[in-house]
């Protein structure tokens, strides 16, 4: 970002007298604002697509009144949520009740900092990228717990506790299933991980096809991440039929809406991580994006990245509306008795593979066989 600011100061004579840190700060705010607009748009459109997909899968129409084919439904929902009365229960812990949406929303938005949208399109390429995502998305748990506790409502308390237990249980498989990508790239930075899947092997350069263990760890990650974002086979925290709505029962108006925005934000983060770590990120098959002029290379890689990430989001929605909900004990068994041991054994498998074959994957070996 600083390098960009320096080149901007050199290019625009008007900025010559302005201190460098001001330009850098303004640039950061501009980038953050662009990503915020993207995130909010995705969250809005995502809520519409979710209901449309649900409609298609359940053989009904879904929202179809506002705008052509119901396309503007999400705007109407946003306006409606802002116009609703803000009710804080008299018995609630007012401070914590008000604090909870901040944690949930900021936790999900801050993860967008390291999403590698394209060759040069990343807000900040932190050298601890994956680590950072795991850390800030954990803020969501705190927000959910606060919301459940502060509401002073039995459903909310149970929902909040369940959500916390579920999210922390599945955080371990999620973390372990992402390690293979770090092992192969030898770096925690998401840009380095994406670059390590480039080259001229096309889609076979992806970590997904690197070796049988990485193939398996993608599915482990996807399953665990589905649970981390409280998607349906694992949506016990909100189980409408038994907990009415879980931790957000007492929330109304836009305060309630913020929890939903954050949920869709998390969905995108999960899809983006899966894309970056296993599906080749912004790499265009059989082609070096870096050789193109700056603007075209970035546009092309942005398109490729978003296509993959949106496809992942659609698959998550498909799974969400296809599978029935688990029971609490089944949910915990799934995490601790199946996913955790499997991810551990899988990690040993990947590291052994890298050791024996000196970091080469199956496609790489086949390619070197043919020269």
């Amino acid at each position: 970002m600083e390098a960009l600011a320096i080149s901007l100061v050199n290019a625009v004579p008007l900025l010559a007298g302005v201190p460098l840190w001001t330009v850098t700060l303004l640039l950061m705010v501009a980038v953050a604002a662009v990503i915020l607009v993207f995130a909010l748009t995705f969250e809005g459109v995502g809520s519409l697509v979710l209901r449309k997909v649900a409609g298609d899968i359940q053989a009904r129409i879904g929202p179809n009144r506002v705008g052509p084919n119901g396309m503007l439904q999400f705007l109407a929902d946003g306006v409606k949520l802002v116009l609703k009365e803000d009710i804080i229960p008299a018995n609630a812990d007012r401070l914590l009740f008000k604090l909870a949406p901040y944690f949930v929303f900021v936790g999900s938005f801050a993860a967008f900092v390291v999403v590698p949208f394209g060759v040069g399109l990343i807000a900040a390429d932190l050298n601890i990228g994956i680590y950072y995502v795991m850390a800030v998305t954990s803020l969501v748990v705190i927000g959910v717990l606060l919301a459940g506790w502060a509401s002073n409502n039995k459903w909310a308390l149970l929902g909040g506790m369940r959500a916390a237990a579920q999210i922390v249980s599945y955080e371990i498989p999620v973390g372990m299933a992402l390690i293979p990508a770090v092992l192969i790239a030898g770096s925690l930075s998401l840009q380095d991980i994406v670059r390590s899947q480039g080259g001229l092997l096309g889609i076979f350069g992806w970590n997904l096809f690197h070796n049988p263990f990485t193939f398996f760890s993608f599915f482990l990650y996807f399953t665990a991440a589905q649970a981390e974002t409280n998607q349906t086979p694992f949506d016990l925290p909100e189980a409408e039929s038994e907990l009415v709505s879980g931790y957000n029962v007492e929330y109304s108006g836009i305060r309630f809406g913020l929890f939903f925005l954050a949920e869709f934000g998390d969905m995108f983060i999960v899809a983006a991580l899966a894309t970056a770590c296993f599906l080749g990120g912004w790499n265009v098959p059989f082609f070096h994006v870096g050789t193109l002029p700056w603007i075209w290379g970035n546009l092309l890689s942005l398109g490729v990245f978003l296509t993959k990430a949106f496809a992942m989001v659609l698959i998550m929605m498909w799974v969400r509306w296809t599978l029935p909900r688990l029971r609490v004990d089944q949910l915990m068994r799934m995490s601790w008795k199946y996913l955790v041991p499997l991810t551990f054994v899988n990690l040993l498998g990947v590291s052994l593979w890298l050791l024996v074959f000196r970091g080469k994957g199956i496609p790489g070996m086949i390619a070197s066989l043919f020269g």
């Binding site: 950061m28 009365e85 008299a90 938005f109 807000a123 909310a156 009415v244 809406g257 915990m332 008795k337």
Partner: protein, 131 residues
């Protein structure tokens, strides 16, 4: 390098400001007509019975304990993964020993029944020993 982290700070501040703005919009536009019934806690239409800050299942506490042990370990494995290809065989052996010890811990928890969500008194180790 530190400049990169300033971006993180900008994101966090902007996120918080967005939340505050949305709440401000609501305060500006939304009606406000509180009444005692409206402000009471929702309990399926009944009058709320007592406080909700009650004792809850001890299982949540056990899950949190197990989580902390395993999460620290995941945090430890990330730096290991970064340097793994440079260190080679030695790193593999060390991680292998580390993971086997933790899996032994998991096996112990499994045997003690701490991974079961639904437990009856008959399942607890003390009762098993008494029989």
């Amino acid at each position: 390098m530190l400049v990169e982290y300033a971006t993180v700070l900008v994101f966090i501040v902007l996120g918080a400001v967005t939340v505050a703005l949305m709440l401000g919009l609501q305060r500006w536009f939304a009606p406000s007509a509180p009444s005692a019934v409206k402000l009471s806690t929702y309990e399926c239409g009944e009058v709320p019975y007592g406080s909700s800050w009650v004792q809850f299942n001890i299982r949540f506490y056990v899950v949190a304990l197990i989580f902390i042990i395993f999460d620290v370990e995941v945090a430890l494995l990330y730096p290991w993964a970064v340097v793994f290809q440079r260190l080679g065989f030695l790193a593999f052996i060390e991680a292998f020993i580390f993971i086997v010890i933790l899996l032994a811990g998991l096996a112990y928890l499994w045997k003690e029944g701490d991974l079961e969500w639904v437990r009856t008194l008959q399942d607890t180790p003390a009762k098993k020993g008494a029989k």
